[in-house]
Amino acid sequence: MIREFLMEYCQSPFVSGFEQACPQILIRYFGRFSDTYENDRRGSYIFCKKGNPARRIMLEAHVDELGFMITELLPGGFLRFSPVGYYNTLCLECQDVVIYGKKEIPGVICARPDRARSADEIVCLHTDWLYIDTGFPDDTLRELVQPGDVAVLRREPVMLEGDVMCARGWDDKAGVAVMLAAAQELEKLPHTSTIYYAAAVQEEGPGLGGQIATYQIHPDIAFAFDVGHAWAEDLPRDETLSLGGGPAIAVGGRFHPRLVDKLIAVCREHHIPYQLEPIPAASGTDAESIQTNRDGVPVLLISIPLRYMHTGVETGNLRDIEAIGRAVACMISEIDREDWGNLLCC
């Protein structure tokens, strides 16, 4: 099911600030495992599986992905654009895009012949040296596209060897898939808490969706899921995760130490391979704003190992998603039997 879900979800546009175009995908898959659904005022998708109202557990991942925004129409059927979020601009030349104007319009990203880009620009992610070629005559294009329209890289997800999938937007659609995997596993396990599945908007922008969803849900415990850099050729082993190596459990001040210990114990008990991701300071994920919400929320961050982050060919392993889903479901089932006062004291 996770594979089918991602195949469909990864082809649907969820650019930050433009997450409301295809809610049906989420409703269809999460609806089976939840009792209520809300699209909050910020636009986040919140599903709730009712249980003990005094014990609320929130699973959170961001629903949005990177994309582009059209900024100017140039003569000759060309468009200027800005990235929404931090795309790796090195991977954009000659890539296909779909522009969501009056209708879906195909285009290709091209490099300006007169602009040599500096090393700084590559890191700063300027797109001044790029433009989109639509092949349309000017007047037709003006009717179909206007500044402010969004675009995404066109990429049909493909399966590589084993359970490795290459798709656009695994960051953080894989996180949403983890919530689905956990929901599926929880069906098989006894649990009594109320479970919220929050697919939050705008992480790739200001990160507001997760903060507001958390405030509204007011959870006692939160699990955040986002992607982490997996090792690929030419990268340092010591700074990366292992693809297919199972849940990467973040360790550091931002993550509740008792919950971290508990999750490690659960993984060991259930023979789920796991890896530790030391994060000394900020994680750059929604876990930050969850932790400092209201009176403070004990939060865990579990990373899905991912190769080629912020390109159009984000590559991950479906087995990791399933393993994380199982670990989280097992942990929820276990802590349900415990006294949270004890569990959450530091």
Binding site: D96, F136, M159
Partner: protein, 333 residues
């Protein structure tokens, strides 16, 4: 659709099997005789009324590609470019097809982990690799062999007035000549679909020798510069200008009086076209003429944005113009 299917074939220089098979299939019920020579060229004889000259129409089948030269311990594939048209920046973050049916990703370090120096302006091929999802060398070796070719994936798209796809330089030529054969004008001529253009035109060299034509006419692309950031001017090649006929290209100087004669004929027939003083790529026609001293040469070029990239764009009206021009050559040549 011919062009779409041709563009989607994989045809590395020296690995044109798919294109060859497709061409053979497309000519099955045309009554043309078809043979493949030892270099892999497809030679087609079109029967009909004998004409003034023995004409050989030609286009190349191959496209810029990658070759696998190492499989690392972790199962990643190292590659080298085949031919000079692969640009690292244009293949970064794409999927590629390795061999017949293995999909891989051209991966490189994410910017979060890049230490970019001032000199290092684009993703260097040294730090790129192909990831097929294998977890070790043994796993990758089951699907891929050292020496296998890889070509980029790029979906063919109808963009209204234009088409977009990979391998445009070669496949617009193949497409125009296949369509000519299928129109089957009453005139005898030959067609050579050649191999290894990207690595030295070895296929053309042999085909020119065996066919010994009086006139060689090739169809390929010329880079159109009507894009943001290029200098405007009268000489600029743009989409929609019709067939471009060069006086000189990187490999050959065409006989001016002949080019001018074709220019007049095209003008009289109302075919959109223009002469261009210089084309930056050596067209097969000129090269064939060098290999076979008897032959006159005519290079027909279709304006195409980024003809060797994964995202070539051609205008439909230019494809019509080149078809008309081929008919004119069949009639008058």
């Amino acid at each position: 659709m011919l062009l779409k299917e041709l563009c989607q074939c994989s045809g590395a220089p020296g690995g044109e099997e798919e294109v060859r098979r497709y061409i053979a299939g497309a000519l099955e019920d045309t009554g043309c005789s078809l043979q493949t020579d030892v270099l892999g060229n497809v030679l087609v004889h079109h029967p009909g009324r004998p004409g003034k000259n023995k004409i050989l129409f030609t286009a190349h089948m191959d496209e810029p590609a990658l070759m696998i030269y190492d499989i690392t311990a972790s199962g990643a594939l190292r590659f080298k470019a085949v031919g000079s048209h692969i640009q690292p920046g244009q293949i970064a973050g794409r999927t590629v097809r390795v061999g017949e049916d293995v999909t891989g990703v051209v991966g490189f370090a994410p910017y979060h982990m890049m230490k970019i120096t001032k000199e290092q302006k684009t993703a260097s091929a040294v730090h790129q690799h192909i990831d097929i999802g294998a977890s070790d060398r043994a796993g990758a070796s089951r699907r891929v062999r050292i020496g296998d070719y890889a070509v980029v994936d790029s979906a063919f798209a109808d963009m209204g007035a234009c088409y977009k796809g990979k391998a445009m330089d070669s496949r617009i030529g193949c497409c125009a000549l296949l369509e000519l054969l299928r129109r089957s004008p009453d005139r005898e001529f030959d067609v050579a679909f050649t191999t290894m253009y990207e690595v030295g035109q070895q296929g053309m060299e042999v085909a020119a020798y065996t066919q010994r034509p009086d006139l060689v006419v090739s169809v390929s692309a010329i880079a159109a510069a009507d894009v943001p950031g290029s200098t405007e001017g009268e000489g600029r090649v743009e989409l929609g200008q019709g067939v471009c006929i060069p006086l000189i290209d990187a490999g050959f100087a065409y006989r001016r009086d002949w080019v001018e004669a074709w220019d007049r004929l095209a003008l009289a027939a109302g075919i959109p076209h223009r002469m261009v003083p210089y084309a930056p790529d050596a067209a097969p026609a000129g090269f064939a003429s060098l290999c076979c001293e008897q032959a006159g040469a005519l290079s027909l070029l279709v304006p195409c944005r980024r003809p060797f990239s994964p995202a070539g764009v051609v205008r439909k009206s230019d494809l019509c113009a080149v078809a008309q021009m081929l008919d004119l050559v069949v009639e008058k040549g």
